[in-house]
Symmetry: C2
């Protein structure tokens, strides 16, 4: 991952993961309540909003374009001097405190709000079974394991390109399978293959990938999605119908860990997400107070 | 109650009770999803907003006056051609269908969203014990019982005045105890008494009221608040810590009855209320679909 130097402290009272409407609304309350917090996410913060031709049900904004509303949200953050740290987190370990990991960076937090949205991108056949056995989500983390081996990257966005370029220096052979158009600058050693991935196969570890009708022998595959599936981020998290299970106070099964927005399940609506984000911060403050962590 | 003629049908798929941010957001989704619904509430729809000097955490509106935001909300409704039926409901009976009652009016609905807010006005000592035994909330409903008797009205707003004027024609003696300033036009037969009500007393039925240090013998008392306590609206409703108990889907303990906004408990925040309203309608639609009531 070619992240620019991130401004991260070693510890926060609250980490908000995700900068869609839920994460943004959570940050507004964190800022107002003067928490020592960090808002983590990557632009564009809610790519779904960009594509929404019109939004009719965000109270206060009759019939507005999704992108215009998104800009209003970002401007609100800017006026409140709220920064978004552009960090892709791959793991959250429960504490206390929680440890957040991603690429070369790490931090800790007393409470965490997951506002990670949902991925419309289904898991591949074999993905869950082979996770950690040749299947991964972070080339920067695991790439060195594949020195002189054959690796594929299945990428839903341009982020996969820097992962692939990084791997081109390490692996013997890198195959790039893009699920998007307009591919950018890739190292000439990378082989691009287009088509639909049918399955990831192997018994104890990944052996091959089937692309359309072609079977490709592989040592490793990295999948780059817009959102990381929450079960991969934090395996202890209790899910229900593919969503993070929360109660009305947005508490998950892990004390100090809250979830807000689309990741807590339907309805997938901006106003619901924002409302839950606002609530999650205030519930997190109650939790911090119960620990004696918030004056 | 001197309500103007209300435009009410006999039956709706969904009744939304309350026109604060939760009720308004619920109505937006009901309108978009083309439900046969009614939005019931009395202006000013969220009196609390009028008094908020600034709101900083309604995502998309950096630092706005409460009243300005309220006007934006109302304008949104207007643009969507959503009407508010100015009806004060005093009872909801579970069905199916639910029956809504208030003054001379009644209607039914397959599903109901309670978005009734919270009353900052505490119950009086003795109020719950003597409810229905001389203590009531609706003079229009129960006034005739007090022909030639002595009745008091404790009023938190001007609405009490029309109740009092109505009672002046029926009762022998009407005492008006205002908890607000700028009293309007009262029938000259009404006696105004100012001060703080200490208790409502009686064994099997109301006998007297203590106002400051004065004990006033009474046959009945009507209390006119901005919000009706939810336990009076619907006694079967399960409460928890004085709020209506809901799960993450905003379902109450009664099938088909949902609650949204401040009435579901803290935090009392506009964005939380609006988000819950939006969600409640979509959950109500799922419920209607399960009944086969929504095509």
């Amino acid at each position: 991952m070619t992240e620019t130097q991130l401004k991260l402290k070693d510890h926060y009272q609250l980490a908000i993961i995700g900068c869609g409407p839920a994460g943004m609304a959570a940050a507004l309350n964190a800022q107002i309540r003067r928490l020592d917090y960090v808002l983590i996410g990557k632009e564009p913060c809610s790519p779904k909003m960009i594509k929404a031709p019109k939004v009719e049900n965000f109270l206060g904004f009759p019939e507005i374009k999704g992108e215009e509303l998104r800009q209003r949200f970002l401007k609100h953050l800017e006026q409140m001097k709220i920064e978004i740290v552009p960090w892709k987190i791959t793991n959250v370990y429960k504490g206390p405190p929680f440890t957040l990991l991603g690429g070369d960076y790490t931090t800790t937090a007393d409470a965490v709000i997951l506002a990670i949205g949902v991925s419309p991108q289904n898991l591949f056949f074999g993905e869950t079974k082979l996770l950690g056995r040749g299947v991964g989500y972070c080339a920067t983390c695991d790439g060195p394991l594949y020195a002189n081996k054959t690796v594929a990257i299945i990428a839903y966005n341009k982020e996969g390109e820097s992962e692939a370029n990084y791997l081109a220096d390490i692996a013997e052979h890198v195959i790039y399978i893009p699920y998007y158009n307009e591919i950018g600058k890739l190292d000439p050693r990378i082989e691009i293959k287009k088509g639909s991935v049918k399955s990831l196969n192997g018994n104890y570890k990944l052996e091959d990938l089937v692309l359309e009708n072609e079977k490709i022998a592989l040592d490793g595959v990295f999948i780059v999605r817009d959102n990381l599936p929450s079960e991969q981020l934090m395996p202890e998290l209790k899910l229900s119908a593919n969503a993070i299970e929360v109660n009305h106070n947005l508490e998950t099964n892990i004390p100090g860990l809250f979830a807000a927005g689309d990741c807590t399940g339907q309805p997938y609506q901006l106003l619901k997400a924002a409302g839950e984000g606002a609530t999650a911060t205030l519930q997190a403050i109650k939790y911090l107070e119960s620990l004696g962590k918030k004056a």
